[in-house]
Subunit: 342 residues, 2 copies
């Protein structure tokens, strides 16, 4: 296998020094038009590719951006990755990803691995890392953006929504829609801290209105349509008089809807179903369910842009986006997503 051509070979062929070749290929500094042309022609004929590793060592920075998410079995984080991919378009950055499986030791190990590449930045899911991990991030010396959540204390930058407020808003919307006997079905709350925050906000808003959850069913497993369906069946068998169920997310809620369809229940007349995320799927369901539409793609895109734009050692903004509640029968308002910066 022929060795890959190096900058030195390009320079030799073009009859200039390595530095001139380097500058010509990077559009850096002043290079005469003739030198530039010769270098580019030489690079072309040799099929020169450039070596990012050497560049990184010399320039002490890479174009890699580390992305850590808890899971990819759920479409939500895949859409965040798609948003990140969009956000770094034209910036030359390349995303490296890791999946924690909602395990904080795995998360810390992944972050350490990523930091050994001296990435241009790090995007991490959530605000609730253990102290040791927070310290790691703080000392990393690279821009860090925590995503999805803003209820807490970010290490540096942060883009997300308030899950506490989202839960409370949904509770108020369901009460306003006349629902009174409300149950809850959730998954993975011990690990999914954002779902737990939504439930806490939901409960608090019910309490403010002088009421409370009638009953709930939880699973320790990750959320899925199947477990939403099963838990709904058991919840309704014990509490057939519920007129509303709030779910930890849309996957669970869709499972609940499927149970109701099989059982011949009238949704939303008899029972209103409320999820979270606003998956595309929800819009096409044959019967309406309530949900909170979250800007997943936008969160990823903004986080990536913050890192792309971050001057080294500048602290980053906290961006709070606003989700949108949709109730059954309600035509989705195509209001653009709001955003505030602090």
């Amino acid at each position: 296998m022929p060795r890959k051509p190096t900058l030195a070979q390009v320079a030799a062929l073009a009859g200039v020094s390595k530095m001139t070749a380097s500058r010509a290929l990077r559009d850096a500094g002043d290079v005469s038009a003739s030198a530039r042309d010769k270098v580019q022609a030489a690079a072309q004929t040799l099929g020169y590719v450039g070596d990012r590793v050497a560049t990184a060592l010399s320039a002490k920075t890479t174009n890699l951006i580390g992305v850590v998410v808890p899971s990819l079995s759920n479409i939500v984080f895949a859409q965040v990755l798609a948003g990140i991919s969009d956000g770094i378009a034209d910036s030359g950055l390349q995303p490296v990803f890791g999946i924690t499986g909602y395990d904080s030791d795995t998360e810390a190990a992944l972050l350490r691995d990523m930091l050994s590449w001296r990435p241009a930045g790090l995007i991490v899911t959530g605000l609730d890392q253990p102290d040791a991990t927070r310290a790691l991030l703080r000392q990393a010396g690279v821009p860090v953006v925590q995503i999805m959540d803003i209820d807490g204390d970010p290490v540096d930058g942060c883009v997300g929504i308030s899950h506490d407020a989202a839960g409370a808003d949904m509770a108020r919307a369901l009460l306003a829609a006349g629902r009174r006997r409300i149950g809850y079905v959730g998954a993975h709350l011990a690990h999914d801290t954002r779902a737990a925050k939504r439930l806490a906000g939901f409960r608090a808003a019910l309490a403010d209105a002088g009421t409370a959850l009638v009953a709930s069913r939880l699973t320790g497993a990750p959320s899925s349509v199947a477990s939403g369906r099963d838990l709904t069946a058991t919840l309704l068998s014990h509490h057939p008089d519920l007129d509303c169920i709030y779910y930890s997310n849309d996957d669970m809620a869709i499972g609940g809807l499927f149970h109701c369809q099989s059982a011949g229940l009238d949704v939303p007349g008899q029972l209103m179903i409320a999820g979270f995320n606003g998956l595309d799927l929800v819009e096409s369901l044959p019967v309406g369910i309530a949900t909170t539409v979250t800007p997943r793609h936008e969160i990823g895109r903004r986080a990536a842009q913050m890192i792309a734009a971050a001057a080294p050692a500048v602290s980053l903004a906290r961006v709070s986006l606003t989700p949108r509640i949709v109730l059954p029968g309600q035509t989705p308002r195509n209001r653009p997503l709001g955003g505030t910066r602090s």
Copy 2:
């Protein structure tokens, strides 16, 4: 900000040479127990992290593995990424991802960017790259695994299923289930070559049985539940006598089912719906639809393992996995996924 400690500092603190420190930290070569302990203690006190960029430049290889997929709006490729993440566990590899948006120029540019990092390997979706891209991959000098598809000529390694056979098998299964007036609803066939291969196989098997598609509806947009729903509505309004519709994938099929539920059609009695992929969601639907269960996670996992195990300059195997057809009302057989190697 204190500069990050280097190997030289660790070595100095341990009272050994850089080389001994390097060997001790990597478990490479023979190092005395006492030297090893001193080095590890020194690394610990300094909080030494190591610099993969320098390692890569010196050792001429990285632990990065490039992954190129067409989209992440569809859960299928997210599950492939999750499989890759599983497959490289404990191998020390880190995945860099890129999204092509089904555009071959974007794909070529992404691959070029990735190759400039001298990755340990490349995982690329599909077998139908343009010649220039194939040449790029062939000359890359790194292990390449093409995934999802095996109907074609791989550049190097390959893990996937035969989409042509999957389409043909579904046609035969639907005919065997007594369906005769069959329609087709598809999306994005110009870009999604695998969906096009399934349709070709489906048509060929119908022709073998002396029949043909009654009608079809196509969209140039990517697949979605919403477009499956819309196209099904128009197809059935022109051809209300269809007894079966084959869809380009489960998302489209689920949209079709939702239309039928809204329209009060009996599924599968009056109309059988057949998708592709076997999304988890399908198992929980209130009415049965047919699908082909594909081993997405397994494809990702195997591809990653092939690269992790690849000695440089060894050619890789072609792994053909077998999908499984499920018809409505049929209890899914939990037969383990087969696999053959050639």
